[in-house]
C-alpha cells in the first residue's frame, strides 16, 4: 500500500514551468499544434475568442487568480487526488505495478471539475454572469452546473437526446443544481450535436454568456486553456509517482474522447521521453464494424467544432456519427493536441471495444472495490493488455478519470439483456 503524499499541492494552471522542451511550446500564436487546431468559427465569435485569449493569458500569470483557483481545487474539489497502488489488479495481471490516479474521487466524481472551476473563475473575472456547456456523459454538465451553483451563475447545459436517455442520473443532478438542460435533437443526438447546439447558442448570446467547453476541443484558445486547467492531473501524478517509486512511470494510460483527462495526464510527461503515453479510443462494437469512435485510429484530418483535427467523416467531408457504449467517448473528433501527439508519434493511440471496457469495469470493481466510469474502464482495459507486456519491474499509471455510479443502470440493463440472450 502506498500512502498518498500530503506534500503534493495542486499546481493550478501554470504552463510556464513546463516549457522544458520545444514540443511544449504548442500551441503557437495562431492556436496551432503542428498543423492542427486553429479557429474555424463564424465571424460573430472571433472577437470573443480573441478577448478570451487575452483574458486567459493575463489570468494565467496572475498570482491572485492562481491562488484562488488552487484554493478551490483543494478545499472544494478535494485535490490533490490520491495515486493509489492497485495491488490486487497488479497481482491478477502479473506484470507492471499499476497505479490509479483517482480523479473519480474529485467532487462531482470526475476530472471535469478541474476545468469547470478554472473556467468559472475566468467567467467571473471577466464579468460574465451566465455560462453554457455541452455534455456527453453528463460529467462536464454536472461539473459546470455545480460551479455555477457555487458562484451564483445562470447555467444552461446542452445534451444529446440519446445521452439524456442513457445518463438520466446526471440529468437529474444537473436539474437539482439549478441548471437548465436542453436536449439536442439533431444528427446522432449525442455529444457532437450537443456541441453544435452550444456553439449555435453562444453565437446568439456571445456578449453576455461564457461558454465552458468541457474538453480540449473547439477553437483556440480552448484546447490550450482546458489543457492548462487539466494538467494538474499529470503534475500531481508525476510528483506522487516519484515519491512512491523514486522514479517516473514507464507508461501512462488514459481514455480519449475529446481527450481532456488524457492531455491533463500526458502533458507534464511529454518531455520525459522514457514515459510511454497511451491514449485509448472507443472502438465501440469493433473497428471493423464501422460502429466506433476511434477518430485517430480510423479518421482523417478535417475541421470539426472550430479546430482542424482528426475526425470520422466520409469522402466528401460529411461528419460520420460515432458509436460507443460510453457517452463521454461517443464523439467523432478529438482534441487537436492529440492529433499532433499522434502524428508526431509522441503518444500512441489504441482502440478498445465496448465489450472489453465492460469486462474491465467488472474486473476493477471486483478486484479493487472501485467502480470506474465506462469511459475510464476503456483505459483500464488497455492496462490489462499493457501490464503483462511491460513486466514486473515496470510502473504503469492509469488515469481513472471518473467514477461509474452514473453507469450502473446502463450496466444493469446490459446484464439483463445478456441474461435474456438479447445482447
Amino acid at each position: 500500500m502506498q500512502p498518498t503524499p500530503s506534500s503534493v499541492e495542486p499546481a493550478a494552471c501554470d504552463s510556464t514551468a513546463a516549457n522544458r522542451t520545444g514540443e511544449l511550446q504548442y500551441p503557437d500564436a495562431t492556436g496551432r499544434f503542428g498543423p492542427f487546431g486553429g479557429r474555424y468559427v463564424p465571424e460573430t465569435l472571433m472577437s470573443a475568442l480573441h478577448q478570451l485569449e487575452q483574458d486567459f493569458n493575463r489570468l494565467a500569470s496572475d498570482p491572485a487568480f492562481q491562488s484562488e483557483l488552487r484554493y478551490y481545487l483543494r478545499q472544494y474539489a478535494g485535490r490533490p487526488t490520491p495515486l493509489y497502488y492497485a495491488e490486487r489488479l497488479t497481482e491478477h495481471l502479473g506484470g507492471a505495478r499499476i497505479y490509479l490516479k483517482r480523479e473519480d474521487l474529485n467532487h462531482t466524481g470526475a476530472h471535469k471539475i478541474n476545468n469547470a472551476l478554472g473556467q468559472a473563475l475566468l467567467a467571473l473575472r471577466t464579468g460574465k454572469r451566465r455560462v453554457i456547456a455541452e455534455t456527453g456523459a453528463g460529467q462536464h454538465g454536472v461539473a459546470t452546473a455545480t460551479v455555477a451553483a457555487r458562484f451564483g451563475l445562470a447555467c444552461t447545459v446542452f445534451m444529446g437526446e440519446e445521452d439524456i436517455r442513457r445518463q438520466a442520473l446526471n440529468v437529474f443532478r444537473m436539474r437539482m443544481l439549478g441548471a437548465d438542460v436542453v436536449a439536442a435533437t439533431s444528427g446522432s443526438r449525442t455529444l457532437k450535436d450537443a456541441t453544435n447546439e452550444a456553439i449555435r447558442h453562444w453565437v446568439e448570446h456571445v456578449e453576455d454568456t461564457y461558454y465552458i467547453i468541457g474538453s480540449v476541443v473547439g477553437p483556440h484558445p480552448y484546447p490550450r486553456m482546458v489543457r492548462d486547467f487539466q494538467r494538474v492531473i499529470g503534475d500531481e501524478t508525476r510528483a506522487q509517482v516519484l515519491q512512491a517509486e523514486g522514479r517516473l512511470p514507464d507508461a501512462v494510460v488514459a481514455c480519449v474522447g475529446g481527450g481532456s483527462n488524457a492531455i491533463g495526464m500526458f502533458y507534464p510527461f511529454i518531455a520525459d521521453r522514457g514515459v510511454e503515453l497511451i491514449g485509448v479510443e472507443a472502438a465501440g462494437r469493433g473497428i471493423e464494424t464501422g460502429l466506433h469512435a476511434a477518430s485517430l485510429t480510423r479518421g482523417r484530418p478535417g475541421v470539426l467544432h472550430g479546430a482542424l483535427t482528426y475526425l470520422l467523416q466520409d469522402e466528401f467531408g460529411q461528419v460520420k456519427p460515432a458509436h460507443s457504449i460510453s457517452a463521454g467517448l461517443d464523439y467523432p473528433g478529438v482534441g487537436p493536441e492529440h492529433a499532433w501527439l499522434h502524428e508526431s508519434g509522441r503518444a500512441r493511440y489504441v482502440p478498445v471495444t465496448d465489450d472489453e471496457a465492460v469486462e474491465a469495469f467488472y474486473l476493477l470493481t471486483k478486484l479493487e472495490g472501485i467502480l470506474p466510469a465506462l469511459e475510464s474502464a476503456h483505459a483500464v482495459a488497455q492496462a490489462v493488455k499493457e501490464a503483462p507486456r511491460l513486466g514486473r519491474d515496470k510502473v504503469l499509471v492509469i488515469c481513472l478519470s471518473g467514477r461509474g455510479d452514473k453507469d450502473v443502470e446502463q450496466i444493469a440493463e446490459r446484464m439483463e439483456g445478456e441474461r435474456r440472450g438479447t445482447h
Binding site: 495562431t30 479557429r39 465571424e43 453544435n196 467531408g317
Partner: protein, 277 residues
C-alpha cells in the same frame, strides 16, 4: 466574378439593391432543386446563393439544417452541387455564389475546389466558418481561379477586423444582420446600420445584408440600407411547408418562386426605377 459586379452595378444604376436568395442544392431532389433555382432567377434574383448541404451546419438555424438534411438524404455531396451549378449555368447568366462549410472544401482540396467551382460556372464562394485569420490560402486559391471569396462581417467584429476583412474582400461583403444563426427574425440588430456604414467605408465592393430577413417589409427596409439583400430561411420554409402539406412536387418551384417574386418586388421598388429613369 464579373457577373457579381455587373449584377450590383445594374441595380445601383437604378438606385436599387440586389436581391440574393439562398437555397440548398438538392433540396428536395436534383431536378426540383434545379427548377427552383431557375424559377427564383426568373422571379427577380440578381445573384443566387447555392448551399452545399453539410452534416454539421454550425451557422445555421433549424430551417436550413432540415433543408441540408433533405439534400444529404437525396445523396447530395460536393460533386452534385457542382453538377447542379453547371446545369444552372447553361441556362442562366445570373451571378452564382456557392455557400459551403469549410470541411467539405478541405477534403476536396482547396485548389481543386476553386478550380472546379469556376469550371461549373460559379462566380463566388462563401465559407461561413473560415474567418479572416484562417483564409489566407483560400483567398489565394480563389484569386488564382478567378472566383470571389466573399467574406462575412458581424455586429461583434469591431472596426479593426471590419477594416481588414473589407480590404481583402472580393465580390461583395456579407454583413451578418444580427447575433445568432440563420433564421427568420422579427427585428434586426440596432447596430446593423452602423455595421453597414463601416463596411461600406472600408470596402471597395458592394455590401449585402443577410441572416434573419423574413418578410418583404424587412427586405424593403434593408434594401434602403445596403447594396444587397440575402434571404434564405424564409424561402426554404416555403419548401418545408409545401412538402409537409403534400403539395404536388411539380408545383413546388412555382410556389416558392411566388414568394421570391414578392421579395424581389420589395427589394426593387418600381417608383425608384421610375425616379431614376
Amino acid at each position: 466574378m464579373e457577373r457579381i459586379d455587373r449584377a450590383f452595378q445594374a441595380r445601383m444604376q437604378q438606385r436599387q439593391a440586389a436581391f440574393i436568395p439562398f437555397l440548398n442544392a438538392g433540396d428536395p431532389s436534383f431536378d426540383l432543386s434545379l427548377e427552383l433555382f431557375r424559377q427564383i432567377i426568373q422571379a427577380g434574383a440578381d445573384i443566387v446563393e447555392i448551399g452545399t448541404p453539410y452534416s454539421d451546419p454550425l451557422a445555421d438555424g433549424p430551417v436550413i439544417q432540415a433543408s441540408a438534411g433533405r439534400s444529404l438524404q437525396a445523396g447530395f455531396r460536393l460533386p452534385q452541387v457542382f453538377e447542379l451549378t453547371a446545369a444552372l449555368r447553361q441556362t442562366s447568366d445570373t451571378g452564382l455564389v456557392l455557400f459551403t462549410y469549410v470541411n467539405p472544401v478541405v477534403q476536396y482540396g482547396l485548389d481543386r475546389y476553386f478550380a472546379d467551382a469556376r469550371q461549373a460556372g460559379a462566380d463566388g464562394v462563401i465559407i461561413p466558418d473560415l474567418p479572416f485569420e484562417e483564409s489566407t490560402e483560400a483567398r489565394a486559391a480563389a484569386d488564382r481561379h478567378g472566383v470571389a471569396l466573399i467574406p462575412l462581417v458581424a455586429p461583434t467584429s469591431g472596426n479593426e477586423r471590419i477594416a481588414a476583412i473589407c480590404a481583402a474582400a472580393r465580390g461583395f461583403v456579407y454583413c451578418v444582420s444580427s447575433l445568432g444563426v440563420t433564421g427568420e427574425r422579427a427585428r434586426m440588430s440596432d447596430r446593423l446600420h452602423e455595421l453597414v456604414q463601416l463596411a461600406r467605408h472600408y470596402a471597395s465592393v458592394p455590401v449585402a445584408v443577410g441572416f434573419g430577413v423574413s418578410s418583404p417589409e424587412q427586405a424593403r427596409a434593408i434594401a434602403q440600407l445596403a447594396d444587397g439583400v440575402i434571404v434564405g430561411s424564409a424561402l426554404i420554409r416555403r419548401i418545408e411547408q409545401a412538402l409537409a402539406s403534400g403539395l404536388p412536387a411539380a408545383l413546388l418551384p412555382q410556389h416558392v418562386a411566388g414568394f421570391a417574386a414578392e421579395l424581389a418586388a420589395a427589394v426593387h421598388p418600381p417608383q425608384e426605377q421610375a425616379a431614376v429613369r
